[in-house]
């Protein structure tokens, strides 16, 4: 996924203000909530068994999405003085 994101970013940034920009990606681990006992845990994609009650009935609450966290911009002066 990271490789595809970098490739796509490079393609759309070309010829725009963002051409020289770098894309920083961080991976967020999956977070699940057990529907049976309410425990929050980090499953692996192959194993959703709740570590507390051993039920595989999980609602994913984080780690499924792509979130744009922030954009860092520089003026020309900032870029040259840096």
């Amino acid at each position: 996924v990271f490789e595809a994101m970098h490739l796509a970013f490079e393609a759309v940034a070309k010829g725009t203000l963002a051409e020289e920009a770098t894309l920083k990606l961080e991976e967020e681990r999956l977070t699940a909530m057990c529907r049976s006992c309410g425990h929050e845990y980090k499953p692996t994609i192959q194993d959703f068994l709740c570590p507390k009650c051993a039920t595989a009935d999980a609602q994913l609450i984080a780690g499924q999405d792509i979130v744009l966290k922030s954009v860092v911009c520089e003026t020309e002066e900032e870029a040259t003085s840096a």
């Binding site: 194993d47 039920t55 595989a56 792509i66 979130v67 744009l68 922030s70």
Partner: protein, 225 residues
Amino acid sequence: MKIKVVESVLKANDAVAADNRRRLEAAGVLGLNMMSAPGSGKTTLLEQTIPALAPERRCAVLVGDLQTTRDAERLGRTEAPVTQINTGRGCHLSATQVSEGLGTLALKGLDYLFIENVGNMVCPAAHDLGEHLRVVLLSVPEGDDKVAKYPTLFQPADVILLTKTDLIGIVDFDSAKVYEDISRLNARAPLIELSARNGQGVERWLDWLRERQAERTTNRGGASR
């Protein structure tokens, strides 16, 4: 200068999906998103399901494919209202396409809306369409390793249908592997084995549909997703 954004990329899709769900709920329609690989029997099962639920229950279908209106033509013979959505190169349906599809149907008086997604085991799983329930199909000839290979499809499923069970014994397929893999991913979804060809198990699927609709009518107002 750092600008904080913190916005979900899928937010635009999710907002339209939530609106689709409200439209279905206002009309008392249960929306089902049917997902599987191409050729696992979504259309064939619907060809049997729609007449079997009639005349007590009325169905409509939104069917997604890259090209052709073949599925819509097949399903149109059931006399249910059917709208074909061609995605061109798109590998899944989006909430916006479903929203436009809803505009082509008279929702009042319907009980079920089946959204037959584009055959694909990856991308459809990431896009909420505004359905209430996710139906995932796995056909016997696809192989008994598919649950483990495509966990993102099976983990959030509300029901899993093992189709073409008349081929067990003809092709190599170990059902125990499927049950084992599902037990670690999703113990909530019932697994219904069926064959649209010989009719075995189809009644269990129809019962499941009737129960879900009955539940909806009794707790109207509570979103189940």
